[in-house]
């Protein structure tokens, strides 16, 4: 295959994660994967499936239900020079191992004066899909952005999924790798070769002059759709995916906002003291000497996630509500909302839970 053809190869987001992991396991014998269900018949939406057959049962293994100790085990293995990838089916379960992540993993390098490293990747899957409810749907990225010593990435495209995974595994620090279930089947061009997407560089996914929409994780997909809705009525929204949240590429975001004069942050999480608050605050800090923008934040409703579909639909932002909010910011007028149904990946999702 010629390299230009290769560059055109499409993979799903899930396949891209699998490929990155397998390639790095091939290259580096110290990399291993573990977590509840990683070697089970469903193999984490295929992202870990068969790694144990390819690389041995020690390199892709299931665990007891002990999130706290298992996180400690990852830290210990990392201290011994290995590179664990610890997979969590739901990001909500990180609440069981916050202590190991925040008090230990994030602080080890500093506490021991730089003599110890904890290279580890924590894959945290956001559990959205109908009826998951209050305890299986949380996105807690802002918790880790808050803590010095830990990195946070949330790739949206298959290309970034692979490149960020390779970067995360090779990073010598703990990395929270946030994945949204609604992304696994989305397809995109992914080079077969090994490549790294460096942390701290945002991506402009669509250009525009009227408003800057910064969206996180699955909301990027919805924001791109909103871009099209807006384009249809002659409005032009720039869509930015920060990709990495810590470090955060505020320069790219601020430059865009300086141009458009408007910032709409659409988080895939709660608004209060969340990632969106940080992005707004940093943009304002950066631009206050030059041009103060209009700002707005969207995210989960300020409630636990309900299970019934009509309320769940109101709970999450979507392409239509994003477009409507952007429209209001740009025109100063309320009330317009585009036609359209639920996102395909949401409508079609029926498990595995």
């Amino acid at each position: 295959m010629s390299s230009s053809l290769e560059a055109q190869r499409e993979l799903s987001y899930g396949e891209a994660l699998y490929e990155a992991t397998a390639q790095e396991m091939e290259r580096d014998p110290d990399v291993f994967v573990f977590g509840l269900g990683v070697d089970d018949p469903k193999g984490m939406y295929g992202t870990t499936q068969d790694l144990h057959r390819r690389f041995g049962a020690d390199r892709n293994f299931d665990t007891p239900l002990s999130e706290d100790a298992m996180t400690g085990v990852a830290i210990g293995a990392a201290l011994a020079g290995m590179r664990p990838i610890h997979v969590h089916q739901r990001m909500d379960f990180l609440l069981l191992c916050m202590n190991q992540l925040v008090n230990l993993a994030a602080k080890t390098s500093y506490m021991f004066g730089g003599t110890s490293a904890v290279p580890m990747v924590v894959r945290a899957i956001i559990g959205r899909s109908w009826g998951q409810g209050a305890q299986h749907s949380q996105a807690l990225h802002s918790y880790f952005m808050h803590i010095p010593g830990i990195r946070v990435v949330a790739p949206t495209t298959p290309y970034d999924a692979k490149g960020c995974m390779l970067a995360a595994i090779r990073d010598n620090n703990p990395v929270i790798f946030m994945e949204h279930r609604m992304l696994y089947n989305l397809r995109g061009i992914v080079p077969e070769d090994d490549y790294v997407v460096p942390f701290g560089k945002a991506r402009i996914l669509a250009q525009g002059d009227d408003v800057t929409i910064v969206a996180i994780s699955h909301m990027v997909v919805e924001a791109v759709r909103a871009h099209h809705h807006l384009a249809a009525i002659g409005l032009s929204a720039e869509i930015i995916d920060p990709v990495s949240l810590a470090p955060l590429d505020i320069a790219t975001i601020a430059a865009s906002v300086e141009r458009t004069g408007r910032l709409l942050v659409v988080d895939n999480g709660w608004i209060m003291a969340g990632a969106g608050a940080e992005i707004v605050a940093q943009v304002v800090e950066q631009l206050q000497e030059r041009r103060l923008p209009r700002v707005r934040r969207m995210g989960f409703a300020p409630t636990p996630c309900p299970t019934t579909k009509p309320l769940e639909d109101l709970y999450y932002p979507n392409a239509r509500t994003i477009a409507a909010a952007a429209h209001t910011m740009i025109t100063g007028k309320d009330g317009w909302i585009p036609e359209g149904g639920e996102a395909r990946e949401i409508a079609e999702f029926k498990g595995p839970f």
């Binding site: 007891p64 239900l65 069981l96 009826g131 409810g133 305890q135 409630t303 019934t308 579909k309 109101l314």
Partner: protein
């Protein structure tokens, strides 16, 4: 099979198990319609632990459970209409459409609640039990959890505190041999749960064979002792899940457990076994009344309304 259980008692146990079975079969049957937009963890095959233990409890006693909570909710007397409406996401559901299948609760009958995070309602039961004892009430609290929950640190922490405070709590481990697709031996080298409880000074008993009468008997002994101030007890009830971990179907094709293993449990269906001890007419009349009740509950759920938009913002805080 011989038993000294009275016909009344057998009829009650049969009815209670059958009702759970039939409701869940109906849930499974209609699941493809997407009217139930909630992940369901069915208890089909696992009726005996809930029904057996709940028989031993008094009405003022309370229970805590898990996301696999239909059986417990019904065995403790939870409102059937409220449950089915909840699965449908209707505002008349027991959680007003906010709970779904995973968070059934009905305080009016002592079904205190459930959690979808494994093991996390165990300490609630201990705290509730401690509170009741401190206030000199003679409530007994039972908490149900799976074999996976035993591996979470909060379980031994809870055992220790319950033993320390002599809390009136019955720990019920429903050991169905798997956590999702992972068999016990992949998760623990020595699944001697009773020994672990005993190492915390808590008397423990294992009930093999998914046996409702044996479960009820052991639960009765435990509950009586607890109520008299004897402190916490632990029961491990062996049982088996017939369907997939979550969802309406079977999952033998996945290969993580054998069909033969499954068959051995299905063949020894406790509902059939207890049903066979009943007078056939009586059994037929129970069957019919259960079907009627279920018919009514699903019709109720179908007919009711979804919550209105404002409901999204309600109940976040208590007034």
């Amino acid at each position: 099979m011989l038993t000294d259980a009275s016909p009344e008692r057998l009829a009650h146990l049969y009815r209670s198990m059958l009702r759970i079975r039939r409701v869940e079969e109906r849930v499974a049957a209609i699941y493809h319609t997407d009217k139930i937009k909630s992940p369901v963890h069915l208890s089909i095959g696992q009726e005996p632990p809930s029904v057996g233990v709940c028989e031993a409890l008094a009405p003022q006693d309370v229970v805590f459970g898990t996301y696999r909570g239909h059986a417990l909710y019904l065995a403790k007397g939870g409102d059937l209409r409220g449950m089915v409406a909840e699965l449908y996401g209707k505002v008349t559901g027991c959680g007003r459409g906010k709970a779904g299948s995973m968070h059934l609760g009905d305080r009016s009958v002592g079904m205190m609640g459930t959690s979808a995070v494994v093991a996390t309602s165990i300490p609630h039961a201990v705290g509730y039990a401690w509170a009741e004892r401190t206030r000199k009430r003679d409530t007994v609290v039972a908490v149900f959890f799976g074999d996976g929950a035993v591996e979470e640190g909060v379980f031994p922490e809870s055992l220790n505190f319950a033993a320390l405070k002599n809390a009136p709590v019955l720990f019920v481990c429903e050991n169905n041999l798997y956590a999702i697709h992972t068999p016990i031996h992949v998760r623990t080298p020595k699944p001697n749960y009773c020994e672990r409880a005993e190492a915390h000074g808590i008397p423990a008993e294992r009930i093999p064979g998914n046996d409702v009468l044996a479960t009820a008997g052991a639960a009765k002994r435990a509950v009586d002792s607890i109520r008299l101030g004897g402190g916490p007890r632990f029961l491990e009830v062996e049982t088996y899940r017939w369907r997939e971990h979550v969802g309406p179907g079977e999952d033998w094709h996945l290969g993580y457990r054998s069909r033969a293993e499954g068959d051995s449990w299905v063949e020894r269906d406790e509902i059939v076994r207890i049903g066979a001890m009943l007078d056939p007419d009586r059994r037929a009349s129970i069957d019919a009344s259960v079907d009627d009740e279920i018919e009514d509950a699903f019709a109720f759920a179908e007919a009711r309304e979804f919550p209105r938009d404002e409901e999204l913002y309600q109940h976040v805080f208590q007034p």
